[in-house]
Symmetry: C2
Subunit: 337 residues, 2 copies
């Protein structure tokens, strides 16, 4: 099995990290790719730009709180915003299975247009491919995006400092739970709604304040737990988080009990972890609370060490224990985005 | 059938044009998208950039003269070069079918890396998704690209002038014939090699000369015939071309006789039509002939009228007749790129 691609290679966990290092990074090596952030930092004519891409293969295509089209806009907008860039332009490329409904395609395109407008970006170029029936699962969308840096240096893991506060802008696991429920039980059965949202305006509010922001990362594949473990490694830092401070909806907790999953590793599409100077944590929280996308925001932990050989995330559990949070190996839930 | 996506919607012919106008342009409307060139022209901080995207779904994945990886680099590099931009950065996003061979993936990634290096661009960001077995056909790749304009205003159909010469940089139909032969008869049976190549260095040679270049377009899906018909419409021009001047390889001619196809509508991946001032046509031809990618270049026609209500391509045939060349309706050959 070792020489075949497994679902886990696309899951955003350790198998993905290995593939990226041993295959892509090794062969494509260049200074823009090496930091392995969600977007590449480019300098054109002394202007700092971010450039990113993501393909979306979510199943089902329509789910409570969004669809593959809105997701394809939100996801790429967020990847740009996380680097501190203002998202400006998107591309949209469609791989459509022969026999797909034109009406559904139109619904998705309208959803992308509406989402793009409210995020303040333009979809400026595109491509359409059709593959024979049985060669795709309805529709896959790729979006690539360009953003421009207007608020100082790019945000990146390397800027995380000892003592930094760690925040999350709201409840975790909503997207994963919504998509899985829609897939397993059907759209109409689901009482959980995806949190999919464009975070760029909320990020801009923080950037325009005097807060010393150091790093942002959207907690998509791998969930908040997986993302923190990855960041800890990239930043060679020890992160301590408090389980009791992590906001989780009752419905998501119930869902996790039924399916034997953990909110910590469920995907989000409108949540980010925020690293800022400890002194600014309360102010950051105020800004977050004043926005609908941050109303359930919380301070969940802090950075206890930096410059370590390797990274580590420790969670102080509800029952008073300590638990190491690591990247999941493979794919807990395939086709979540 | 009208409300379902057909293979022809992805064929680059009239069905694709209709879909783009009635769905994407209508909903995404903005000034960058409207010209419907292969790349969008963006201005960031008074710097002109081109931005483009394409997904590659070619079958088979390996064919004489290339593979899906080299194609994904060549195709997007060429889209940028056609606008007059110097290609700088690429993204690469993979949708991989569960069970795909890691060894084949590595071969393709190495091919992309080699191709990118020789085209002088960097692959700076990427994404990997894995879909369950049966939900894709091995591997699909999306590349998006950014280029910068350094040689005056962008090249576009609107700059085509009455009297302009029309050139092609070599034999047509090679890519289409190579892929179809590999698909139908098997890789080893094929004596025809794809022309897939990065055209940016050749374009740069012309830009650095004193030639008054007006428009370039790579003759991919729809072939040279389809591309000329599309350009004639976009430029509201009448184009006259001479069948006897169009270079076609003997093997491709033979292939077309067997399969009942026309070289004019077969895809190319290293061919472009070139519109330049008539006085410069001979000089352009010299430059093309001095380069391996232009050694079979020819002047094939000229622009007889502009500012017409609609466009038109007339071909003076070998037997002395006149034939109107129109965009093919749908997909003559699916999954050619």
């Amino acid at each position: 099995m070792n020489d075949l691609i497994m679902l886990g290679h696309g899951g955003g966990g350790r198998l993905t990290t290995d593939l990226v290092h041993n295959l892509f990074l090794k062969n494509f090596q260049n200074s823009h790719l090496e930091p392995l952030n969600d977007s590449a930092l480019l300098t054109i004519d002394r202007k700092n730009l971010s450039f990113t891409t993501d393909s979306y293969v979510v199943s089902p295509i329509f789910f409570p709180g969004g669809d593959i089209g809105s997701l394809a806009v939100h996801g790429t907008v967020n990847d740009l915003a996380m680097s501190g860039a203002r998202p400006l332009y998107l591309s949209a490329a469609y791989i459509i299975e022969e026999g797909f409904s034109l009406k559904e395609l139109e619904k998705i395109v309208i959803s992308m247009a509406t989402t793009a407008r409210s995020a303040g970006i333009e979809i400026v170029t595109g491509d359409t491919k059709v593959v024979p029936k049985g060669m795709a699962d309805g529709l896959y969308i790729n979006t690539a995006g360009i953003g421009v840096h207007e608020y100082g240096p790019p945000l990146e893991p390397q800027r995380i400092k000892k003592g930094d506060a760690i925040l999350i802008n709201g409840t975790i696991g909503d997207h994963g739970a919504a998509v899985i429920t829609a897939r397993e039980a059907g759209f109409s059965e689901s009482r959980i709604t995806s949190d999919a949202a464009a975070l760029n305006h909320l990020v801009e509010k923080m950037q325009k304040s005097s807060i010393k922001l150091h790093c942002l990362r959207d907690a998509t594949r791998g969930g908040m737990g997986g993302i923190l473990a990855e960041l800890a490694k990239q930043a060679h830092s020890y992160l301590d988080i408090e389980e009791k401070s992590i906001p989780v909806r009752e419905e998501v907790r119930g869902f996790c009990e039924i399916y034997g999953m953990e909110p910590l590793f469920l995907a989000n599409e409108g949540k980010m972890v925020i690293f800022c100077a400890l002194d600014d944590a309360e102010k950051a929280l105020q800004i977050l609370h004043s926005d609908p996308l941050g109303e359930n925001a919380a301070i969940i932990g802090r950075v206890t060490e930096v410059d370590q050989e390797t990274g580590r995330v420790i969670m102080n559990t509800l029952i008073g224990g300590e638990r190491i949070i690591d990247q999941p190996t493979g794919d807990l839930v395939p086709r979540i985005c």
